[in-house]
Every structure is written in structure tokens, then in C-alpha cells.
Amino acid sequence: MQSRRQFLALGASCVWSFNTGDAVGAVPAAPINFGLTPVLLTNDLELLTKLKAYLSRKTGREVQLVQRRTYEEITGLLLTGQLDGAWICGYPFAQFREQLSLIAVPVWRGKPLYQSYLIAPKGRAATSIDDLRGDIHAFSDPNSNSGYLVTASLLAEKKLRPDQFFRQVIFTYGHRNVVRAVASGLAQSGSVDGYVWEVMTTIEPELTNKTEIVRVSELLGFPPVACLKSRRESEGVRLLHRALVEMAKDDEGRHVLNLLKLDGFADEPESVFDTITAKMMLIRSLGS
């Protein structure tokens, strides 16, 4: 793995050297550390390989993709400056909005927006969250917007916490895992990223076919790529920003976008995440 990384780093630096015309023998630039949360279909090795290759080529720097099991870990790394940028969820962005800045927001079906789905096993015949009372409910991550916050805020409107409404809540630390938990019957319902569920219907229909949507949330800001505000003008972030917003114009980039089923990345105002911030505030007010 190490040798492969070295090879890629060497390859990336060579490409950069060729593009910029730097003299041979110059000290190679530090790699860009790019964090990924489980919002992505992280089990797809091909996607990771292609994304890394694209970003490395496009930025001219070696790009290290950093993955952790939870959102909290990635957010922690980002906030402590160990990452140049990270693809995080809207909820952590709302939580640390004052310290974070947007690099780019993914565009899906023409908008920088997505929805959260409440799902249940196929044939459950549930039509609202009230039908899910007393379930074993699968959340994605306590710091996920679609995989926790949306459902928690819905219950907060009823002055309830998830552990009061559901018999038991489980965290699967991945939207795909929420679908697995519901499809297998481990959980009787789950909160999942609508974008992930929709993508899975084309990639793994055998899993999503065992589930059905109970409720669709309003449109919310798509999980953004963010960085520390203090680094917004750094070289690494600047290169990352360019690579992301120009992805749709590049063949390799389009291939990556096709794997992600996204239209591209765009510069969007922070107000896109106001709805999420409002939900967060609602929960905080309830103390859940």
C-alpha cells in the first residue's frame, strides 16, 4: 500500500511538474489530505481509486483520501487542521458553521439539495412516522443530517426523543448499512440519506427492493465539501476547489461523477444549510 501511495505521489508530482514547468529535482509539494464521511458509498473501491486519481491529477498534488468510521472523527480531524478539506454532512457543517467554510456543494438532479427518507421493510404499510412507534429504528450516525437529525427533529416537534419514541435505536455508521438493517429485518425502520437510497436502487436493487419509503423530508442542503475558514485561501483548498467545480468538464471527472450519480460540484451560499441549522436548533432546545 505504501509503495502504491508512493508511486501515485510520484506520478502526481510528475504530472504537476509537467503542467507547471517546474525544474526537475524540485522539492515535491505536501499532499492534500481529503476526508470522506460515510455519506459516500465508501464500500466502492473503484470510486475511491478513480476519485483519488482524478483529484491527484487535477490538483497536481498527491491527494490522500482519509476515511473514518464516524462523522465525528472526520469532523474532528477537519476542525483540528489535519485535513485540508472534507466531504462532511450538512449537520456537522451547521454545528461548526462559524469555524467552517464551504469549498463546494454537490449538485444532484440539478440542485444542491437532497432529502431524508424514513424507510421500513417492504409491505409494512406504514404511511407516517407515527406508524413506526415502538420499532427498533436504525440511524446512520448521531452526526448525520438525513440519517439522524431529520427524524430526531421530527420527533422533537412532538416533544419526544428518539429513545422515547422507538423501542430501541441502533447506529449503523453508514447509510447503506441502514438499508441493510431494514432489509434484513434487524430494524423495523430506518432513517437514510435519500440520495444514497436512490443511488442504491440502481446499484443494489436487491437490497432497496426489500424496503419501502414511509416518509420523504423537505429538500435540504446536500452534504458539502468544507474546510476550516482559516484555510479557505490556502493553495491546497484552492486546488481542491478548482478540481471539484471543474469535475464535470473533465472526462475522468465525469467518470467519477457518473460513479457518484452526481451532476457536479458548485459554489453555493451557506444559506442552503439554514433549514438544517433550524432543525439542529430545535433539537438543542429540547435538549435531545
Binding site: 427498533i136 447506529f171 434484513s184 429485518g185 434487524l186
Partner: protein, 489 residues
Amino acid sequence: MTHAIAAGRLNPATWPLSVKVPLLVAVLMFAVSAVITNRVLARLQDNQEQHLQQLASAYLDGLSASLIPSVFREDVWEVFDALDRSRERYKGLNVRWTIVTNAEGKILAASDPTKFPSDTLAEETTLEHFVEGKEAILDEAKATAFLVRSLPYQGREIGKIYAEADIGLLLQERSDVFRTLSLTNLLLTVLLAIVGYLAVLRMIRPVRIMSLHLDQASQGKIELIPDSIVMRQSSEFRRLFGRYNVLSQAVNEREFLASQLAEEEKVASLGRLASGMAHEINNPLGGMFNALDALKKHGTREQVRGTSIRLLEHGLTGIRDLVRSTLASYRADPRPRDLTFADLDDLRLLVKPEAKNKKLRLEWKNEIEKAVHLPAVPVRDAVLNLLLNACTSSKEEGKVKFHARVESGILIADVSDQGNGLPAHIQEYLERDGAGSVPLDKRSGLGLWIVKRLCDEMNGKLTVVMSGASGTTIRLTVRPKTVELVHAA
């Protein structure tokens, strides 16, 4: 009789070698194959159980290592995820389901959550097959292996793994091996039995040849085994056939000599008969010549003439009867005729000279009333020889008795003498079926052999009714031939 034959067939000791040996080979092969099959299956079973134990241990080791932290945290998803992933990793074990419980026995997660929901107590019926302290239990009747492993953490049990694996494939494999082995062994057994049968058939062929020749010999026809057959045999049978041929030649020569001897005896008998006849004719001749002299000298006297003529007539009648009887006995008769009263009654005249010589008294009882459908000449010869033998055996001034009768169409002729009785070997010879094909022995006369041979030819039977110091009674029984009886009817 039928039961006795059936019982004989059921007795393996009476079965032919060509059946017994292949059968023995088949039985032995079957026994060997049964033992081998049993050993192979036992070994296979051991290996399978060992393999299953190892696989089960590996499965439980792998699971417990990854599960302990999650079980300790009671992390339902992590437990389920570990179980779900292990399904692919341990495909060889064919696990039907796995349950992980916490210390209180509540299900944390199961590989099949719909069947075993989380946060419920595992049912007693589900866990009743698992035994504490026994990690793997194989239940062949249910084609299932029950696996259980305790999950310890810092010296405390924090949960348990229960798993049920389908061992149907293992049992199927064992059953396939059993079927293949059995079929192969059966085919081999049948093949070896056929080979054994053919080999034994080939090996005992000389015995059958010998048996065939001995059968023919017992029917009076002793034939040598041709050299071409003798030379084809192995050294043992070549030697045996050679000895048989030497023996057969000796028997044939002996029979030839015996028949010559019989001819000579016949001639001698004829001589004796001729001299007897001459004697019988000579006796009246003296009286007749006397009568002739009396006629010559005193023929004019009425009384002398009458007496002389009566004497002449009496003497001539005696001579005529003797000649007639002899003619009846020795006339070459091309067509067999039925036995009549006269045929047997005439014998008295033929025996008379012999009886007279020994001053014997003849007690004659002939109860045959009408012709019997039996060949007259051989019956007469046989009875004549019996009578002559009785005369020879009887002491001087003794008594020879003859009694002939027909009972239910069967001729019975008893001849008794007052001799010293018959030796045992002669008695056995007379009563043994088919013994007439060879002469009796050197010590005995040919008379009884001739009787026995004639008796055999007529399918008759000789019985020694009584034999002792006071004398012997021999009975000749001749049954008319069935075909002829039917024809006659």
C-alpha cells in the same frame, strides 16, 4: 420321498462344487466388502466429524474475536454486521442461523433477524438442543450440527453464540461413498463369483469325465477314456485317468474270461445233461430190451405179450417226455413267449437225475394256472439253475422244495435246500441291484451268476428269504413289464 429329495437339495453339503465354490467366493467377498465398507465409513465419519469440529471451532473463534467488543457494548449493528459478513467467509460450514445473546440471554442480533428478533429472549425450544460445555453436537437424524460458544470478557461471561449448521451435505457425501462402495463391491463380488464358477467348472471337468465313465461302468459298459482326453489333463488327472484305463482294461479282460468260463460251464452242463439223459434213457432201455426178449421168446403167449408191450410203452413214454422237456428247454426260440405251467413243471424232469444222484426228495408245488406275461426261457433257465444249485448245496437224502405262484400278476418262485446256508457275500451279491454285470468270485460257481444276470435282464429281484444251518430259501420275483401290461390290457 419328494421331501427327502427337497431336504437333500437344501443341504449345502450335497450341492455341486461348481455352485459351492463361487458361492463361497461371493460370500467371502461380500464379507470382506462389508468389513471394508464399514471401516471406510467409520473413518470417513471420524474425518468428517473432525473436520466439522475444526470448522466449527474456526467459525466460533473468528466470530467471538470480532464479537466480544461489540457484545460488551451491546452494539446491535456491529454484532449483526459481523454475523452477516461471516456468512460468506464460512460458506463451507453451511450455517443456517446464528444468534448472539447478551449475559441475560436476550438476543442482541441474529443472522436472521426476522426469525430471531433483537431485544427478545431466545426461546427455550430453540436452545434445547445445545448442551453447556459441548461446543459442537452432531444430530444426524436432523442433519444438523448445534454449535455454542461462551463469550468471556475479563473473566465474566458477557454473552453466547448459538449456531445451527446444516450437515446434510456431509451426510449426503457419506451416503454417496456408501452407495459407491456397495455398488463397486457388489459388482466385484458378482464378477469374482462368475470367474470362480467358470474356474471351478474348468477344474472339475476331469472329475465329470471320470464320473461319466464310472456311471457307464456301473451300467455294465466299461469304456476307456480316449488318449486325446487323457493327454489334455493336468498331471494329477492324467495319472488318475491312466489308472482308470488300466483298471478298466483289467475288468474288461476279466469279464471276457468270465464269459468264456460261462460258455465252458454251459458245455459242461450240457455234458452233464447229456449224460443224465443217457442215464434216464438207459434205465428203461434195459427193461425194454427185456420186454423184446420176452416177446421174441414167449410172444405167442397172450399174457407175456401184453405185459411186454405195456413195459415197452411205459419205457418209450418216459423217453418221449424227457426228449420233449429237453427240447422245450434248449430250443432256440427267436420270439419270446409267455411262461406257462408246463414250462416250470418240465424242470422237475431235468432236475430229477441230479436229485437222484444225491438221493434227494423233491417237493414240487407249481400253482401257475394260466400263462404269465413273462419271457418263458430266461425264467426257466433261472429257476433251473436255482434248482440245480439247491441240489448241489443240499446234503444227501435231503429235501429240495420248489414253490411257484402268481400274486397280483407277479411271478414268485421259491427254491429251498437243506444245505449249510449261504455265505454273507453271496447273499449280498444276489440282493444287490445290477450286480449281475460281473461274475461273483472265484470260490463260487457260475450258476448263481447266471441266475443273477438273467434276473437283472428281466428286471427281476432275488431275495434270500431264509439262510442258516438248516438250509436256504431263495426267492425269485419277476414283475411283468409295465408297458407290456398296458399293451396287454
